[in-house]
């Protein structure tokens, strides 16, 4: 198979984590001295021989990636999806040789360039021109190559006028444009793109994705890591799904995305407090449960931009004849308050209650949200506040028209009716 450019077999990455062991019930100076001396000798040995130094008495192995095997062919665009901590970034780091695997092997044919972060190695004191050469060399371009593409890079970044200005005086937009322009003119055989690339504004994201599509249709091999199902679906025919360091799926993208969706919902979405003493709350109200779920029969269904969802709160009231209401503040991942919602105040007695708030579908934009709970007495007196009592993701995986696959800008993304009609000619 000559056209396989990446072949990974039994790939694993292990990290060691130290734990403090149990201490004896009483401590003798002799033991302390002996233990510390032993620890010191061991540490000194580790330092001298270049092994990793572990703090603590017990060492636990943690596999960030385990037994992962796959092949990628020349010209293929492979998507890699999974939750945070599933091992996607570790896999990319191994493939781009930043870190070495602890087990297994990979064979790579050709130059790998990773767009893990644009602007790596930019020096604020140097001018735009100097930074293009510096950054290009760091990303693996030869001097001749940079020279050849220099004008193109500068034109792409639209910074001609400021070439001889130190980049510390650049606006952040100019900085990012220049950095991306250098990265975009890399011509590796294998391009590795991580999601962090897509943090810029919408136009910048469009440029990134456009450049990637271009690379793919130019016959390069592209590995794309993303949470953005729409981008994965439209760019890749095949994808890998990782879960807790293991390969869950390797095959057509549609099945992969379905596999990914079926994984349990965000662990933050249901929170239970069985012990009333340690439950959050005060002497009037105690919270027992907060759950965020998609409003469908399947409890594991993810919340999408279109689907309605509900937030349930179970709570106890320890007092009779008190007028209360529990309300939410909804924040997005940038800490922007998206909305607040509150029920009418109601007379409570000493009992358990359940309240449900149903959010309509077609309202929120894609992203991670968190809820702040407030308990209000007599309509105006806030008696309890709990920040971030639950968090959940709203995903988007339905392709829109025009092939645009990024996240639309804006805090919310409601569905409004539009009417367009042709006017009669006058």
């Amino acid at each position: 198979m000559s056209d396989v450019v990446i072949r990974a077999e039994g790939l694993g990455k292990k990290y060691l984590i130290g734990h403090e062991g149990k201490r004896e019930s009483y401590v003798a100076l002799r033991d302390v001295v002996a233990r510390n001396l032993k620890g010191f000798v061991r540490s000194a040995g580790d330092v001298l021989s270049g092994r990793q130094l572990i703090v603590g008495d017990e060492v636990e192995e943690f596999w960030a990636l385990k037994d992962v095997g796959f092949e990628v062919k020349r010209g293929e665009v492979l998507g890699i999806i999974g939750r945070n901590g599933a091992g996607k970034s570790t896999l990319l780091k191994i493939l781009s040789r930043i870190t070495e695997p602890s087990a297994g092997r990979v064979e790579i044919k050709g130059r790998v360039a990773s767009l893990l972060e644009v602007g790596t190695g930019f020096h604020p004191e140097l001018t735009g021109r100097e930074n293009v050469y510096l950054n290009g060399a760091i990303l693996g371009m030869s001097r001749a190559e940079i020279k050849r593409k220099f004008d193109e890079i500068v034109a792409f970044a639209e910074v001609e006028k400021f070439l001889d200005t130190p980049v510390k005086r650049y606006s952040s937009g100019m900085y990012v444009r220049l950095a991306f322009a250098v990265a975009a003119h890399l011509e590796p055989e294998i391009l590795v793109v991580d999601e962090v690339l897509a943090v810029g504004d919408a136009e910048f994201q469009k440029k990134c994705l456009g450049k990637m599509g271009e690379a793919a249709s130019g016959g390069r091999t592209v590995l794309l890591v993303s949470h953005n199902m729409v981008a994965v679906r439209s760019l890749c025919r095949r994808c890998l799904v990782l879960k807790q360091g293991r390969l869950l799926h390797d095959g057509p993208t549609d099945n992969g995305i379905a596999t990914f969706q079926k994984q349990t919902v965000n662990s933050g979405a249901v929170r239970l407090w069985n012990d009333r003493a340690s439950a959050p709350g005060n002497d009037v109200v105690k919270i027992a449960k907060v759950a965020v779920a998609s409003d469908s029969s399947d409890p594991n269904q993810q919340i999408t931009m279109k689907s309605p969802f509900r937030v349930d709160v179970n709570y106890f009231v320890n007092k009779n004849n008190v007028r209360l209401h529990l309300m939410f503040h909804l924040f997005n991942e940038h800490g922007v308050l998206v909305l607040t919602t509150a029920p009418p105040s109601m007379e409570h007695k000493n009992a358990a209650y359940s309240s449900t708030c149903e959010f309509t579908g077609g309202l929120l934009n894609e992203g991670t949200y968190s809820l702040k709970l407030q308990v209000v007495e007599d309509n105006w007196h806030i008696i309890y506040v709990h920040e971030n009592i639950a968090s959940f993701d709203v995903i988007d995986f339905e392709p829109r028209a025009e092939g645009w696959m990024g996240r639309e800008p804006g805090v919310v993304q409601p569905e409004f009716p539009w009417r367009i009609s042709e006017l009669a000619a006058s």
Partner: protein, 298 residues
């Protein structure tokens, strides 16, 4: 696999576009746990442009950020030379080597010492200073500390020009031996690169190792024959004194620059050479052994 390939290739694979870059130029890289990379040194050569550009960046930044960059590079050795001449020659009444003026003796010792100490401090902090590169991009990590040594070489060149002026002023010219000077410059760099590689690798894991550098630099200035000739060291201690690798380097410099009036002590020089070689081997060895895990720890 061949049945799958039609199914798994991207949508437009059938459009018959030409395959990207010629496979002939491709190298197969094999990544495996604990695999000592066979072509490491070739890789290092492959990354020479990165070395050049990082070195150039360090030099450019150094002279851009400091308004009095050049003045500082001139003043420091000059003032040190004046102070040392006064203390060791006038106060302590130590002899010079042959007929060499004392300031030139001091300067010829100070040149390699400043080279040694600045390579040591630049290279030792270099990995930490470039942490963002290490965690984002692959290249042989040895490029970073060695490129940072170039800054020290630029300062050295400035100092060397000063020495040339001083020698003209005193009308004291070096003989043919001066052509061997580059060899001793290389020796000075290698002598400090060894320990520097070790310390910079340790620094990645244990940030407190950097505090050892100012100590070595301050202490070393007095235990090395910078302000005095190593000929004042009693004969029976001479051999052991040469265990300090800088002794061999400084003796070599003086031998080159002071027209052979500085006595050359071969056994001591060989000891220094052996110590330099050992530290270099150890530093490179340790660096290579820990290099692969830098990105996980930095």
């Amino acid at each position: 696999m061949s049945t799958l390939s039609s199914e798994l290739s991207p949508p437009d694979a059938s459009r018959g576009r030409e395959p990207a870059p010629s496979p002939a130029s491709e190298r197969v890289i094999i990544l495996e746990s604990g695999r000592a990379e066979r072509n490491y040194w070739r890789d290092l050569w492959h990354y020479r442009e990165l070395f050049a550009i990082l070195a150039w960046r360090d030099v450019a930044v150094r002279y851009k950020q400091t308004a009095i960059g050049l003045a500082w590079a001139l003043a420091r050795p000059f003032l040190t030379m004046v102070v040392f001449t006064v203390i060791f020659s006038r106060v302590a009444k130590l002899p010079s080597d042959g007929s060499a003026p004392y300031p030139i003796l001091v300067f010829a010792g100070m040149l390699p010492w400043f080279l040694f100490s600045s390579v040591l401090s630049e290279a030792s902090n270099s990995l930490i200073g470039n942490a963002n590169l290490i965690s984002k991009v692959y290249f042989p990590r040895l490029v970073i500390p060695s490129a940072s040594a170039v800054v020290a070489l630029v300062d050295f060149a400035v100092n060397l020009a000063m020495l040339a002026l001083l020698m003209l002023w005193w009308g004291f010219l070096p003989g043919w031996r001066v052509i061997l000077l580059p060899a001793f410059v290389a020796l000075a760099v290698l002598a400090s690169l060894g320990p520097a590689l070790w310390i910079t690798a340790l620094n990645v894991k244990y940030r407190d190792f950097r505090y050892i550098i100012p100590f070595i630099v301050q202490f070393g200035l007095y235990v090395s024959p910078v302000g005095f000739s190593s000929a004042v060291v009693p004969e029976k201690w001479r051999f052991w004194y040469s265990l300090n690798p800088v002794v061999g380097v400084i003796d070599g410099f003086r031998w080159c620059l002071l027209g052979g009036q500085s006595p050359f002590y071969p056994p001591g020089f060989l000891v220094s050479l052996a110590v330099v070689a050992f530290f270099l081997w150890f530093g490179v060895h340790y660096f290579r052994a820990t290099e692969r895990a830098f990105a996980d720890m930095i």
